[in-house]
């Protein structure tokens, strides 16, 4: 413990997934030169992006209960007599909510790097647009 304090190393807290590799030695103030700026920029790139804290297990259970309730609502909608268009819209809204809850909380998309979000949403949006256009053209949707 004393060694840890002496070296300034702090153990990673349990549950944390932080992977930041900051230099522990204080950096001396020095003159800023183009070479220095380029060098520090390069170093900054190899520093790992900080990850945010993930939700607690209790929160995961809460999300799962919410998902179960939404699923029950979906099944109930299947049996309730109402205009078909309304049923389809409500079902799609509920499915989108479930999708967002799993991706956002269980897959940590809400907490991780925005780049991961962009990568996934690009594929998702591309698929959505391509198949929406295809199914609309073939008169399946509208």
């Amino acid at each position: 413990m004393a060694d840890t304090e002496a070296t300034g190393d702090t153990p990673e807290p349990p549950g944390s997934s932080a992977v930041v590799t900051e230099e522990t030695e204080p950096e001396p103030e020095s003159e800023s030169t183009p070479e220095l700026e380029a060098g520090t920029a390069g170093l900054a790139l190899v520093h790992h992006a900080p990850e945010h804290t993930h939700p607690s297990p209790a929160k995961y259970v809460g999300i799962a209960i919410l998902l179960a309730v939404i699923t029950a609502l979906e099944v109930a909608l299947y049996y309730i007599t109402m205009p078909e268009a309304l049923v389809v819209v409500l079902l799609l809204i509920l499915a989108t909510m479930k999708f967002a809850l799993v991706a956002g909380f269980f897959m940590h998309l809400k907490f991780d790097s925005p780049m991961l979000r962009r990568v996934f949403i690009t594929g998702l949006a591309l698929a959505g647009v391509v198949y929406f256009v295809a199914l609309t053209t073939l008169r399946v949707l509208i």
């Binding site: 349990p14 549950g15 944390s16 997934s17 992977v19 590799t21 230099e23 950096e27 001396p28 030169t33 070479e35 220095l36 060098g39 790139l45 190899v46 520093h47 790992h48 992006a49 607690s56 995961y60 259970v61 999300i63 799962a64 998902l67 179960a68 699923t71 979906e74 099944v75 299947y78 078909e84 049923v87 389809v88 079902l91 799609l92 509920l94 499915a95 999708f99 799993v102 991706a103 909380f105 269980f106 897959m107 790097s113 780049m115 991961l116 990568v119 996934f120 690009t122 594929g123 998702l124 591309l126 698929a127 959505g128 391509v130 198949y131 295809a134 199914l135 073939l138 399946v140 949707l141």
Partner: protein, 208 residues
């Protein structure tokens, strides 16, 4: 150059080679890229089923005629809950709790196996009703879509069981939690795809 920088060179920590210039572990970035491509893959299968789901020769059932919604709802619920056990497995390894990691991984694999068992039973019932891969375009598109999803779940189960084996051999320390996280991403995605299949294929009324 180093003198000009005024501080010690960056010495990569173990595992640093896995980090791209983006600052994100390349394995994790790669998995998200793969999942993005899977959106297109399953999108094509879902779309083709929507296109063909009513096309069958006269007198031959279409899948919608023989769906057992209460049964499939329970099956969907089981897969949904497997996402909870999967994320609890990740939380366990991040707490360095290896016993719970293995329990939750096994629970996830078990729930996945229950889902696959349910799907096999459903396929058997459908076959007895006269539906098979070649009975109609509607049945064919249904079996291809749900079958490919089932294959994904099966691959996930094998992946989870292999993680349990690696953990039992003591080769899955808390620092390697990313291995569990990446398996989890795959598993949750398979769950997400089923969320869409369950809604679009099973629950949305078929009036065409």
């Amino acid at each position: 150059m180093q003198a000009a920088l005024g501080h010690a060179p960056h010495t990569p920590a173990p595992g640093d080679h896995d980090y791209a210039v983006t600052g994100i572990d390349s394995r994790k970035l790669g998995m998200w890229g793969f999942l993005a491509s899977e959106c297109l893959f399953f999108g094509a299968l879902i779309s083709s089923h929507l296109l063909y789901r009513s096309r069958a020769p006269e007198g031959v059932h279409i899948p919608h005629d023989v769906y057992d919604i209460p049964y499939t709802s329970v099956s969907s619920f089981v897969l949904l809950m497997s996402s909870l056990t999967m994320v609890l497995a990740l939380a366990a390894i991040q707490r360095n709790d290896h016993r719970r990691l293995r329990i939750w991984l096994l629970a996830t694999a078990f729930l996945g196996t229950v889902f696959i068992g349910g799907q096999v039973y459903e396929f058997t019932v459908f076959t007895h009703e006269g539906l098979n891969l070649s009975s109609s375009v509607a049945a064919s598109s249904f079996f291809v879509l749900t079958g490919f999803h089932g294959v994904h779940v099966s691959v996930g189960i094998l992946w989870l069981l292999s993680l349990v084996g690696i953990s039992l051999r003591g080769q899955l320390p808390a620092e390697k939690h990313l291995q569990v996280e990446i398996a989890g991403l795959y598993w949750h995605f398979v769950d997400i795809v089923w969320i869409l299949i369950f809604t679009v294929v099973y629950l949305v009324p078929n009036t065409h």
